[in-house]
Subunit: 395 residues, 3 copies
Amino acid sequence: MDLNSVSYVLDTFFAIFAMTLIIFMVPGFAMLEAGLVRTKNVSAVLMVNTMIYAVASLAFLLFGYSVAFGDFGSDSMSQWAAFLFQMAFVGKVVNIMSGGVSERAKVLPLAFFTVIMASVLYPIVVNWSWGANMLEGTPLELSMYDLAGSTVIHSTGGWALLAAILIIGPRLGRYPKGGGVRVIPASNIPLVTLGAFLLWIGWFGFNGGSVGSIASKESADAVALTIMNTNTAGLAGAIIVGAFMYFRYKKLDITMVLNGALGGLVAITAGPDLYDIYTPILIGAIGGAIVVFGVSFFDKLRLDDPVGALSVHLLNGIWGTLAVGIFASNGTDITFMGQLKGVFVVGIFAFVSSYIVLFIIDKVVSLRADRDEEMQGLDVEECGLEAYPEFKRAF
Amino acid sequence: MDLNSVSYVLDTFFAIFAMTLIIFMVPGFAMLEAGLVRTKNVSAVLMVNTMIYAVASLAFLLFGYSVAFGDFGSDSMSQWAAFLFQMAFVGKVVNIMSGGVSERAKVLPLAFFTVIMASVLYPIVVNWSWGANMLEGTPLELSMYDLAGSTVIHSTGGWALLAAILIIGPRLGRYPKGGGVRVIPASNIPLVTLGAFLLWIGWFGFNGGSVGSIASKESADAVALTIMNTNTAGLAGAIIVGAFMYFRYKKLDITMVLNGALGGLVAITAGPDLYDIYTPILIGAIGGAIVVFGVSFFDKLRLDDPVGALSVHLLNGIWGTLAVGIFASNGTDITFMGQLKGVFVVGIFAFVSSYIVLFIIDKVVSLRADRDEEMQGLDVEECGLEAYPEFKRAF
Amino acid sequence: MDLNSVSYVLDTFFAIFAMTLIIFMVPGFAMLEAGLVRTKNVSAVLMVNTMIYAVASLAFLLFGYSVAFGDFGSDSMSQWAAFLFQMAFVGKVVNIMSGGVSERAKVLPLAFFTVIMASVLYPIVVNWSWGANMLEGTPLELSMYDLAGSTVIHSTGGWALLAAILIIGPRLGRYPKGGGVRVIPASNIPLVTLGAFLLWIGWFGFNGGSVGSIASKESADAVALTIMNTNTAGLAGAIIVGAFMYFRYKKLDITMVLNGALGGLVAITAGPDLYDIYTPILIGAIGGAIVVFGVSFFDKLRLDDPVGALSVHLLNGIWGTLAVGIFASNGTDITFMGQLKGVFVVGIFAFVSSYIVLFIIDKVVSLRADRDEEMQGLDVEECGLEAYPEFKRAF
């Protein structure tokens, strides 16, 4: 073995390690969402999460990867490890979207959307941002810095979710005719907690792996700093929401605290390698605050999002991308306007294309379960089984 | 540090990484099975899984490893890492068997069987296939290619399960006198899903680590291709079962879809390093189809297997081993007949030896809980506690 | 890349790997404790675990790390990786303490204690044992060998718990006026099992990473031996408790068996790199036995510890530290008296300082929930939500 091979092996191994952590986000999202919805919709939510991993990954293998990157191939590590790492991302974009339409969206239309998103829409965004760059030389060419996808992953998924919510509408009874918001409590808090921490751990692979190499002192430092800053932003997001909940309501609503952590994690994702070790505290804290205010904001707009994904992923994806322009522009090519342009270009594309695709799917096979199915819960109709058949329901 | 040491360190580190992923299969099997059985048997199932990890691993340390490999020792990596990686496998063979006799088999006789399986039976199979090879030069010498154990692990466990089911019989009420099959629904679908994905992730370590080295460009490529192909077969298994369920029943039974993924994963395990990146789609899809048809097939034979392990592990272990002979024989020493011989030799040994051992254990301490205990659920009698004591049962 | 960089990269990567495994202990502790308490206190327990990770880690970043080690900095690996690895430890000390005061301690006072523990108390113990060593040259200077914290982590947390239990008292109804102990059953056994195995896996990172380097043949061997011995002690702890439970009660109480495994894991933690591969069987088995007898011992003293943390962490932390003096002193500088001195010095400091801090906190904001809140369960008052709102309670 020569030193050149050592680099190749280290980067391949590290990409596999990072990919594995990201795959823990599959049960992570599944548990988080299964815990947040009502028991009557739990199997359907788990089926959607399983379907997304299977369908999105295979579609990316067959079509999406070449749309994004042109072809298989990598000099600095095994091309298969490079593929695996990218493949681990793709389902996440759809997960972000599917969580927010839980308890009313059917599995089959979501599967159609997953195929399109993973084969074409998301790969185009990757192509522009990290990949073959078909916009090169055009006025739309992006100069956005987005290490691990505040915009490319989280906002893209968030815009698709906004499109989906506009088409599908709120859950029955969520916004009563007389006004206000009916609270629909999460059914299983341990699952929510487990899911959030699996996501948190997955983020180390997501952001750390996005540095692209560990095979030099500088790269190893960048990877370690990235993971440290990623974690710090999550800590700050959780703490700020906890403090707010305590001072405002004297109640530490754990689902909000965990969403605050996730908001901080999304916000740091655009540039965790660029900050000193204290800036992520500020970025994550603002990320947490955005979750708190975002959740009531979207409820005021009657945009029903059972898992808070619009606040966690869409708003914080935008915030995180802009934060790079604010805090990390010194001595780099990064500009606030370049970041803002990226947010707009990707946002408009993601929203419009998702809206069109979902609109067509909805016309062909209704995206939404019918009224009786929704009242009864989606599990019986969609999956033919209940999630907890032996447990007696309190209501 | 010299380059030779770098290889040693990389392979040691990689074996530890792979071993760790495989250990996630311990809670993986535990959660999968705890979710699939009725609430009254959940603690007993968890106790069996915990017992298996503890007893099988210690027996393998004290006896089994030297039966399989002669002695501790490895030149290319730390001998302790080599041991840990092999140790991580052993409990899985018994897990495969114990899952299928859930809800009626007692813990103590399973512990006796675990000792024998981990000390003698499984190590003999490993000796023949991957180890010191006591069959060398005899007519029974195997020429089977089985990278990570479609036959060595999955079929061996599956044959032991078949023997156990023949001895212990079906659960009370499973096959009513009037004919047909009584559906006994899974009690906790989130646990099933969590368990299945922990197994899936563990498979990356199982198959990737079985390549044996990562410390060269070629090895790193082989590891990455192995993990990629492993994953692809799981995707295809899930999708084919989902499609079948939808077209046949309009219901996406998530327990079947997840078992389809596991079937695909078992099927690819014999040769994930040998295929191009598209063949695993076919192998995994056939693996999923085998699960669908296997489950009804065994029910027709009144072989009661609450978790579908005969279909997932036994049938797909055979299919995966033969698939190597079909798809990967070009330009290699591998032949279909060599693969078939391996399936037969290992199968006959595993089934007959397991049958004899289980038969004797059953005579000494009945393998099966008595009728009252089974009706009440095994948790109270075996463990002295219930899994969910505060939750009111619906039935 | 030169060979010096290769070492740096390998050690950075390995520290990140080890840290990641330790972070799995966050959901590990959370699931274990959420499963062991009654459903009415589950959200509060999960909130405490989340708070601990967030608050302890951030306090350690801002204050604790420099108290322990003087300053950021590391030559042999990325300083950020070195920080992350140490940061992963700190919450565990508080986890050990918080688990034992579950079902009656409020979140806010525990948050105050977490700040002090992670900023000052634990960092002082680390300073003495592994860090800048402010005791150097004084009569109190420690010569204790404690690889991964039998004393530094587990006993320190255990002493803090003892102080807390003395201040807060037992749960209502736990020790009835007429004498005896009222059994309060665990509410969710799958979560207990999942949590225990996540902890077990985390221990591989905890102890393996504590070797400090993997970048030479000798270090790689030491890491692999450490992980192997760690695992073996856990196996032995589980088996001895299982055997005891079976022979004494004919019931395999899985919560005790899993605590036995954890006891074995704590006991091996002081010196897993120093033993041959068989000694851990003895150390772990004694560790398991200590759990069995410890649990009744503390109940006789009416020290109410719902999760058994005093037995698992305090007693086995002491046992494990002394075991190094008994079994590993040959040909080393380690002496039994040196180990004993470490146990005493750290123990007195940890107990007294924790007692004072908790006493003051208790005077300012009562550590204990008021009677009504405890009867109703802490979830509603502390978190404003129930953990399982849709499941009908059996009692």
